[in-house]
Every structure is written in C-alpha cells, then in structure tokens.
C-alpha cells in the first residue's frame, strides 16, 4: 500500500457501484430474477446429487462382492430378472464363496392407512446381512409379516413404526424405516423373502443373488469362478453393478435435469440482459456523455461488465440463501425429493452464473457502441 490508501480506493469514482445503487429497485429486481434462476439450478443439481447418493445408496451400499442376475440383465433399477432359487445352492459350492443371499423384487401396491402407493418391494433373507437395508429407525431384523419402509415414503404417508400396512392386499406391520432406498419416482420396501414369494405366487424364484467371498479370494477371481457356473446368468462385481445402476439413473434423469437447468440459465441470461439493456437505454445520456468527455471503449466495457457481474454476484448470493432456506421446507413437504448439494455443484453454479454475467453484458455493450455522443447537443 502506498500513500493515499489502497489501490482500489485510489482508482477513481466508483461509477458502476453508483449507477447500481442509484436505482435500487431495478437492481433488486435483477438480483431476484437471477437469484430465482440460480435457485432452480441449485435445486436441480441438488436433486441430481441426491439421486446419486440416496437413490443408488441401497445397491452401492451392499456388503457383497458380486451380484448374479438373469442373462442380459445389467442393473437393478430398470430391468427384470428371474432366477431359479436353487441356483443359490449351486453357487454356494463355488470355492471362495461364503454366503449367497437371494433378493426377490416385486413392483406392487402398498396401502398405508387409507392411501395406496406403488413401491418396489424387495423380499430378502432375514437371516442374511447382505440384503438388509440401512435402518434409521426401528429394527432391521424382519420376521414374517413385517415390513421395512423407505423413510421418505413413510414420512410422505405419515406411517409410523408399529402401523399396519398392506402389500398387494396382504397385511404387514411396519417395523423399520430405511435410508438410501429412495429412487425419487419410487421407493423401496423390504419384507421376508418367503412373504414375497407368497405375494408373487411362485416359491422357487429370486431376482438377484448377492454373493460374498472369503477374505482370501480376490473379487475378480470370485466373479470369474461364478461366471459360467450356471447357464443364462450374468455376474457382476459389486462396484460394476452399482455403476451400471447409477448410469441408468443418470440416463433417465440427466437429460431432464440438464434441459431444465439450461432453461433456468436462459431465463437468468434473459433477465440480466433485459434489465441491463433497459438500464442503458434509460441512462443513454450518461453513456453518451462518457463518450463525449473521453471515456475509452475499454472503460465502458468494464463499466457494463462490472454492473453485470455485481448483479450476478448478488443473484448468486440471493439464490444460495434462498436455496438454503427452501431446501429443508421442500424436504418436509415432498419427502421423496432427495436433495444433497455438493460443494462442486455449488462451485459449478457460481461459475455458470459468472459466465452468464459476461454473456449478459454483451448485448448491452453492443447497444452502448451505437450511442453517439453528438446526440447530447440535441437535448
């Protein structure tokens, strides 16, 4: 720092700030417009992050080494898979295998009080920890006639531990609430596999088999041993199956989220451009004057860019605060909406907003270029 104070304070009249502060209403509207677009983008990214963490949580969180599915089945969320239950016995004989646990997947109606919803009901082996979900309330130990329900689904319908439910018309008692089991469009419920087979009407059937190997057998080795042991099956290492599932979720959601995010960006850009453009038209004489008294093109460009970026910075701040305020309320009102905003997503939105700020200054800059200082003599 040299004599006379810091460099930023010595540069000159802070014209951009003065112009912004002079019309606070316009600036407030600009910030709100950009802010709401930022909120929209944050919600979409938080939804995407939430899906990644929550909706794939069950598959990604299995303490298994491998998944076995029907041939041509590649994922859990968007596929059908039917296996003979006896295959589990065959796989138990493979060297290195310590545990095989079947899952029977049904998509069926669940009645919670007077309300009916559709859920993915998984029949699991109560004695095995491989298929057991992470329970946040109640117990993970299922007995016949008992059910564990995704916590968001339970919250949505006001279900509590001990409540009576019906799945496909059969009575169950709610004994646990799980997490990592919300796939946004549908949620998971868990019942003993024998109950699931009764609901299905076929006794010797499973959808997937979870396999755990011993500590001395490498996962890849185990998968190679399982492959080809039983005809018409697909064997996946646990991380591969989890990634396949994630890709299905991404493939279904990303195009929608990206489209809406782009629309949000376009709205923000339009608001910013329109309001800056309007401000320049309203202050046409001021810009003509600046040109007349010798303001260089670079100064005018910086002046407009500074206003644009200030509006964007305000909009991002407004948007982040609004998101932080609205997200908990949204979780209460729409429990199935899984929101989890990562720092990367937040940084991404801020970077995109800065880009919007630069783009938003372009059209106003072109307008300023067409203002002629000689027109001041006519006033």
């Amino acid at each position: 720092m040299s004599a006379g104070g810091p460099r930023w304070a010595r540069r000159g009249v802070p014209l951009a700030h003065r112009l912004i502060a002079f019309d606070r209403m316009r600036f407030g509207i600009t910030i709100a417009g950009i802010g709401f677009a930022v909120v929209l983008m944050l919600f979409l990214l938080a939804l995407y992050d939430g899906v990644r963490v929550e909706s794939n949580g069950y598959v990604a969180g299995r303490p298994a080494d491998a998944w076995v599915a029907q041939d041509n089945t590649t994922n859990f969320i968007k596929s059908s898979s039917f296996l003979r239950a006896a295959i589990a016995d065959t796989l138990r004989t493979v060297p290195g295998v310590t545990e095989v646990s079947p899952i029977l997947r049904l998509i069926t109606t669940v009645d919670i009080g007077p309300r009916r919803t559709t859920a993915i009901v998984l029949g699991i082996d109560p004695a095995s920890s491989l298929a057991r979900p992470e329970v946040v309330e109640g117990t993970a130990q299922l007995q016949r006639g008992e059910m564990i329900l995704d916590r968001a689904l339970a919250q949505r319908h006001g279900a509590r531990i001990g409540d009576s439910l019906r799945a496909q018309g059969h009575p169950f008692r709610l004994v646990g609430l799980s997490r990592g089991t919300n796939a946004v469009l549908t949620q998971l419920a868990f019942i003993p596999i024998d109950d699931a087979r009764e609901l299905l009407g076929f006794r010797e059937v499973a959808s997937f088999l979870l396999v755990r190997g011993d500590s001395g057998t490498a996962r890849d080795t185990l998968v190679r041993r399982l492959e080809g042991r039983v005809a018409h099956t697909n064997v996946f290492a646990q991380p591969v199956f989890a990634e396949n599932n994630m890709q299905e979720l991404r493939g279904g959601l990303l195009p929608i989220l990206a489209t809406v995010a782009v629309l949000g960006g376009v709205v923000a850009l339009s608001v910013l451009t329109l309001l800056l453009y309007g401000a320049i038209l309203e202050r046409r004489e001021a810009y003509a004057l600046l040109k007349a008294i010798g303001a260089a093109d670079g100064y005018l460009a910086r002046l407009i860019l500074a206003q644009s970026l200030a509006a964007v910075a305000g909009g991002v701040l407004f948007g982040v605060l609004a998101y932080l305020g609205a997200a908990p309320i949204t979780r209460q009102v729409v429990p199935e909406m899984v929101l989890s905003l990562s720092p990367w997503s937040l940084t991404g939105v801020a970077a995109a907003a800065l880009l919007l700020g630069a783009l938003g200054a372009l059209v106003p800059l072109l307008r300023v270029a067409r203002i002629y200082p000689a027109e001041l003599f006519r006033a």
């Binding site: 006379g4 000159g12 009249v13 014209l15 002079f22 008294i293 010798g294 003599f377």
Partner: protein, 234 residues
C-alpha cells in the same frame, strides 16, 4: 493574431448529412475559420445554421465530409475513434445546454470523472475537484446530487467538469439556454474569464444576443456558411 495562438483551424470544412437527393442536408458548407486561444468566439445563427454541427466537428464527435479540422496542431481528419476520444479527454472540454450531469454521482464525483478517465488517481482528483468547486462557488455543494442544484449551479458544475483536465479548447453549446438571465450572465462571465485568464479557446454556439458583449469575435452563420465575422467593441 499570430498563427501560434490559433487553437482551432478549420479549412474548407463541409459536412453533409443524409443520402443524395432531397433529404440531403449540407449542415456546414465550406467553412474556413481560425479560432484563437485566450478568446471567446461566439458562433451565432438561427436554428439549422450549422452552429452545433461545427461544434461537433471541432470536438471530433463527427467527421467532416470535406476539408480539414486542426485542434491544437493535430489534424482530426483520418484520426481513429480511440485517438479522437483521447483528444477530447485531454484537450477539449464540452459544456451542454442540458448540463448532462450524471445524477448518480455527487458534484465532486461529476467533476472528478474526466480526471479519473485520464488516469488521475483519487486523492489528486478530489483535490483538483475541490479547487474547481471553490473557483466556481460550489465548495458547499460538493456532496450534493445534481438534482438538488439550481440550473445555474448545474451549469457551473458542468463547466468545472469541462475544465477538469485543463483543456486548451472549451466547446459550449447554448450554455445559457436553460438558465435565467442572471445565471446566464454569470456562466458567460465564467467562460470569458477562463478564456482570458487561462489562455483557452472558448467556442460558444448560441443564438442568445446577451453573450455577444462578452465575445472576442462573433462568427455569424447562415445555412451552414460563414455569413460574417465581427469583433465587438468594448
């Protein structure tokens, strides 16, 4: 007057607006003029006589269709916009009828602005703004916004702004046009004093005959041409 004292030299300057045909207007037509330093030149004429166009040509705000414009020994013909902008910033001050102060800035900041554009940093620009404000009786208005000033005060701020970078040439377009007689007289007296005391070429375009007694030469324009040059008797 010797050639060295000329701040502005116009030689056979013509400016045509519009396309060829009935809509074409020769706003300035073959004007040759020498405008001296240290004097106030009044460009007089009816509306449409070419006064304002002549000011715009001298200020480099528009280019001549023909002829040459030289300001402070620099020919404006062929200069690009950046050079013309720099010339206006450092060597030409402009005063408008409608003042054109920036309402978002205080009086002090309005005066400082041209200095900051020229690279003068704030403590220095603030000090110079204070000096100018004191010279024009505005020292107690420095923190006011323009909307809080009277018309005469606004024009004095505009003159102070025009003088901020100590220009050799002041262009004033109808500087008394928005003022009452008393304020108008005060403004013209200030411009005249600037011309005499600081050796500037002050060029005023006006149809206000009250200004004539303050002028060192009166250039009468009609239909874009010089209709006569008078030196008022004092």
């Amino acid at each position: 007057m010797s050639e060295r004292e000329m701040a502005v030299r116009l030689a056979h300057v013509t400016r045509v607006f519009g396309a060829v045909g009935e809509t074409q207007v020769r706003a300035v037509d073959d004007v040759t003029l020498d405008l001296p330093r240290g004097g106030l030149t009044l460009l007089m004429g009816a509306s449409g006589s070419g006064k304002t166009t002549l000011l715009s040509l001298i200020g480099g705000l528009i280019a001549p269709t023909a002829g040459s414009v030289v300001v402070e020994d620099m020919s404006l013909v062929g200069l690009g916009q950046p050079a013309l902008t720099a010339l206006r910033l450092r060597r030409i001050g402009i005063v408008f009828q409608a003042f054109h102060l920036i309402d978002a800035l205080s009086v002090r900041e309005n005066i400082e602005l041209p200095m900051n554009l020229a690279g003068v940093e704030r403590p220095e620009s603030q000090a110079r703004a204070l000096q100018l404000a004191e010279r024009f009786g505005l020292h107690d208005r420095l923190d006011f916004r323009p909307r809080a000033l009277s018309g005469g005060e606004k024009q004095r701020v505009a003159i102070a702004r025009a003088l901020a970078n100590d220009p050799a040439v002041i262009l004033a377009d109808e500087p008394t046009g928005s003022l009452d007689a008393r304020a108008g007289d005060a403004v013209i007296a200030l411009l005249h004093a600037e011309a005499r005391q600081h050796r500037r070429a002050v060029i005023v375009a006006s149809h206000d005959p009250r200004i004539a007694p303050f002028a060192d030469q009166v250039v009468r324009l009609a239909f874009g041409r010089v209709d006569g040059i008078e030196v008022p008797l004092r």
